[in-house]
């Protein structure tokens, strides 16, 4: 890495603005707004304005932050920020089709583990708040995590096998490039079950409606978030929105990667911008299919049913895909 001024500025730009912080935050909150709007429309409601997540975020910034008596102050306040940081850094690993911060080489396993950081931050923060409701909430969050991790890893392995063949390939950049030349993975029949499984994994990862057992506000008073108020809560809400974007972007890269306009209009900033727009459009569709639609038509799972669902139906779909890919389909 060349630490000249221009280079440093470029890196700073990448971290803070384009694939990094600002882009993720803006698109994440945008997707969250779209999700709420779509759910409302599907329930025959008008729904909040698209800016609503922004209002929520800003409002929470303006509220008091109360650190409860039983809480461990340092951990309690640091936890949301750790999750936020993890997400921002993770965003740098996800390429916007061709364009990414770290030379297009996001590693799938690294991503898988970075994805756990926000969840762990939520868990540790909830645990540090000292509330018994949070205790139940973190238990559920953890079980949810155990549930979706199994299908997720099988999906990633199927994709890796499809792209890498008989070589080890965990690089997201490589997966995108492969799709650029061989067509989107979504159109390979062997990976369709995996794609469906991934659509079901996203809502659990983000924690939206039928899979939000951890934050069930009607049962366990928002679970881990119970004692949070003010800015830390705002950051947690922001984390959820960012996760929404990151998961859908990951989906896009895994199954619809390589849709680059650079070949049509020539490489350069317009092509990157156009790519970003296309990516956001795909993200909206994925948000609709995986989060809004499921949210609108289902009621919350019980935790044991959630676990069973993921380890049988979703993992079964993913494993089917893995087996199909393995034997050369």
């Amino acid at each position: 890495m060349n630490f000249s001024l221009i280079g440093a500025l470029q890196i700073l730009f990448k971290i803070l603005i384009f694939p990094g912080l600002l882009f993720v935050v803006v698109i994440g909150l945008f997707l969250a707004g779209i999700d709420r709007k779509l759910v409302a429309r599907m329930q025959k409601r008008v729904g909040p304005p698209l800016r609503q997540p922004w209002f929520d975020f800003l409002k929470l910034l303006g509220k008091e932050t109360i650190v409860p008596h039983a809480a461990n102050k340092a951990v309690y306040l640091a936890a949301p920020v750790i999750g936020f940081t993890g997400l921002v850094v993770m965003a740098l690993f996800i390429p916007v089709f061709g364009y990414s911060t770290f030379s297009g080489n996001g590693d799938l396993i690294v991503l898988l583990y970075l994805l756990t950081i926000p969840a762990v931050a939520l868990i540790i923060g909830g645990s540090a708040s000292g509330s018994p409701y949070a205790g139940i909430g973190i238990s559920r969050e953890m079980v949810t995590m155990m549930s979706y991790e199994l299908p997720l890893i099988i999906i990633l392995l199927s994709v890796a096998r499809k792209v890498g063949g008989s070589a080890l390939c965990f690089s997201l950049g490589q997966i995108v490039n492969w799709q650029a030349s061989n067509g989107c993975l979504a159109f390979h029949p062997a990976l369709i079950p995996a794609m469906l499984a991934m659509l079901l994994v996203i809502p659990a990862e983000v924690g939206t409606q039928p899979f939000d057992v951890a934050e069930a506000e009607t049962e366990i008073c928002e679970g881990p978030l119970i004692e949070y108020s003010g800015a830390p809560l705002a950051v947690f809400k922001l984390n959820t929105a960012m996760k929404m974007f990151i998961m859908t972007a990951l989906f896009t890269n895994l199954f619809f990667g390589g849709v680059s306009t650079a070949s049509l209009i020539g490489a350069g900033i317009p092509a990157i911008a156009l790519d970003a727009v296309i990516m956001v459009l795909i993200c909206i569709v994925v948000t609709f299919l995986s989060m809004s639609l499921i949210h609108a038509i289902t009621a919350r799972f019980k935790i044991e049913h959630l676990f069973k669902f993921y380890w049988t139906v979703v993992a079964g779909l993913a494993a089917l895909s893995l087996v199909l890919v393995w034997f050369g389909l």
């Binding site: 205790g135 238990s139 995590m145």
Partner: protein
């Protein structure tokens, strides 16, 4: 250069320390501690001085006891041979010994018979150090035996505490069955080859297996597997780690079961050279996968801090065995790296458990809670350990688990065997479950509400915190600079494991290997995917600081941060309790994860039935597994 004497001096220092403790340290606490510390420091220094010649310059030290060098191609004397693999484990051993010795000073100060403690401790240390550096299989057996019965003694050290003697007895029975199998294997091997030297055995056995050597392989494999406590031999380990003093639990998980792992690697890679055989790979990976899965699920069901850690030790050894059993260079690197990391983080966690036990008098997760307010330093160390073992970036557990996944999946795609793909999946799921059970400990012991009983618990003393800090730093450091670790420790060790001819030549004289027709199977260098923890961490720290300042400072337009300074129990700062007056109510260990446990009810019932606590059953598992290994060996090994 005189460093060829260092290995032997290091081992003998520890044994001499044990002897001197008996002679001089009976009555004086200071003398005892001094002898233990001095012996550990000396051996640490001696081993550390070997890093330069062995690891960096690539030399292999061979040392013949009484200068009884091999004649006419027959090695009759006992030889010490320190290659990179041995030194790698020796480094783990001496680090563990040193830190444990420092920790012990304050930890066991209230116990009686401390002189026996130090005698046994130093003998255990010396035996394990001797085991990883010896070049003689029978010497290895003797070291295993010394290790076993000193370990038993230390397990039952606090013999009035709950179940300590029982654990010691089970450990002894299972351990001695394992030793017997090892000895039986050695005897069969000797009957076939008439030598006990590893290098010579390796040269003789290369591509030259008779039924007798297969039998020997099966028996020695079982014996060493018992020593590394993989499933189904893990039962006494869980008990022993629970009841032993924490400084000793750390030694157990840090080096005693590593000794077994070392023995298995030595056996498979060097002595029998069965690395190339897919059936052996399948056998080991199968054992490893089952181990990591059963270990972690049992850990999820535990209510005792140390017992939970014990089952995690078993589970993590499963990772090591799985990775090493893949028999690729990437796999072995992953295995060794994970072994090293396991020593660091599990030692750290056991030390934290010890600090908790010393301060609160219990390790029952249902009785603890909220300790982070009283023991913040221990909590910090625990969190580092817990995140390391759960494999969160950028801690070391992540780096090694990541290598394990890569290795397993590389094996899967290169061989086209879907079994290894499912091994990878299991490894990832086990990792998540590990995280789950450490979340359980975090919630049950360190966060949540502080029970009134523990309101004036005190932080562990500085001398106990010191090893914890060191290990925490090592956990973070090896995670971030894992490429350096790979370059200076893992790569030489892996090369040593694969380049057997070098090993044989150094021991038996140049040209011996070639004469015996030994070929190296060293695979290409493992390649890593892109993961740069340094940049990542720098980014993380920068963004974290910025965001933290933005969120937490109560300047300007944002809402204030109010925290309870006065200590009022009720009102604004009380925990929300549905409006009720906040009662001390803590979600303890056994209450967590019931949603998961109900789904796995049948499994847990069976598992609890199997871990019956009856020593006969445990012996039965050992014998049955040994039978399985023997049958498998004869059926599939060619």
């Amino acid at each position: 250069m005189s460093y060829i004497h260092f290995p032997v001096i290091a081992v003998m220092t520890l044994f001499m320390g044990a002897f001197l403790t008996v002679v001089l340290g009976r009555h004086s606490k200071g003398v005892r501690s001094f002898i233990a510390l001095a012996a550990s420091c000396v051996s640490f220094a001696l081993i550390a001085m070997l890093v330069k010649p062995v690891m960096i310059d690539g030399e292999i030290i061979s040392y013949w006891m009484g200068n009884w060098a091999p004649m006419s191609g027959y090695a009759i004397g006992i030889g010490y041979e320190v290659d990179q693999l041995g030194l790698f484990f020796a480094l783990l051993v001496v680090t563990t010994i040193l830190l444990s010795a420092v920790y012990s000073i304050r930890y066991i100060e209230k116990d009686s018979s401390q002189d026996f403690y130090y005698v046994l401790f130093l003998m255990l240390s010396g035996s394990v150090l001797g085991l990883v550096m010896t070049g003689d299989v029978f010497n290895m057996f003797i070291m295993i035996e010394i290790m076993t019965f000193t370990a038993v003694g230390l397990t039952a050290f606090r013999n009035t505490s709950f179940g300590a003697v029982e654990a010691g007895f089970k450990y002894l029975v299972i351990g001695s069955i394992g030793s017997s199998f090892t000895l039986f294997g050695i005897a069969v091997l000797y009957g076939q080859c008439h030598t006990l030297n590893m290098a010579q055995l390796s040269a003789m056995l290369y591509g030259n297996h008779s039924p007798a050597t297969l039998m020997a392989f099966a028996l020695m494999f079982t014996g060493l597997a018992v020593k590394s406590y993989i499933v189904p031999f893990h039962t006494p380990a869980a008990d022993a780690y629970t009841t032993a003093p924490s400084s000793i639990s750390m030694v157990f998980s840090g080096m005693v079961n590593k000794a077994g792992v070392y023995g298995m690697i030595r056996l498979v890679y060097i002595i029998f050279r069965t690395v190339d055989m897919p059936s052996v790979q399948t056998l080991i990976v199968l054992f490893g996968t089952v181990t990591m899965f059963i270990g972690v699920t049992m850990a999820l069901a535990q209510h005792d801090f140390k017992r939970l850690l014990a089952f995690h030790s078993i589970s993590q050894i499963g990772y090591v065995i799985t990775a090493a059993g893949l028999c690729t260079s990437l796999g072995l690197s992953a295995g060794l790296f994970h072994a090293m990391n396991h020593t660091l983080f599990k030692g750290l966690l056991f030390l934290c458990a010890g600090a908790v036990l010393r301060s609160t008098g219990t390790t029952n997760l249902d009785q603890l809670g909220g300790l982070s307010k009283r023991m913040p330093k221990t909590t910090l160390c625990f969190l580092v350990g817990a995140f390391s073992i759960s494999g969160l970036p950028p801690f070391n557990g992540f780096a090694s688990k990541w290598l394990v996944y890569q290795a397993a999946y590389e094996k899967a795609v290169t061989t086209g065997n879907i079994f290894y793909a499912f091994v990878t999946v299991t490894a990832v799921v086990v990792s998540v479950m590990t995280l789950a059970s450490f979340i359980k400990v975090t919630q049950a012991a360190f966060f949540g509400q502080l029970p009134a009983r523990l309101a004036d618990v005190e932080e562990a003393p500085g001398l106990m915190l010191l090893p914890m800090y060191i290990m925490s730093l090592l956990c973070v450091g090896t995670g971030i600079f894992y490429d350096k670790v790979y370059q200076y420790l893992l790569d030489p060790a892996v090369r040593a494991a694969f380049t057997v001819s070098n090993y044989i030549d150094r021991m038996m004289g140049d040209g011996y290997a070639e004469a015996a027709g030994v070929e190296d199977v060293f695979a290409s260098n493992p390649h890593f995917s892109y993961w740069n923890p340094v940049i990542w961490l720098a980014l993380f720290v920068i963004v974290f600081c910025a965001a933290y300042i933005c969120v937490v400072t109560s300047k300007g337009s944002r809402g204030q941060i109010l925290s309870d300074e006065g200590g009022a129990e009720d009102g604004k700062y009380a925990t929300f309790f549905s409006g009720e007056k906040a009662l001390p109510s803590h979600v303890a260990g056994s209450d967590l994860f019931w949603g998961f446990k109900t789904d796995w009810k049948g499994y847990f019932r069976v598992m609890e039935g199997l871990h019956s606590g009856i020593v006969n059953d445990y012996a039965l598992y050992v014998v049955a597994a040994a039978a399985f290994v023997v049958v498998f060996t004869f059926a599939f090994l060619r």
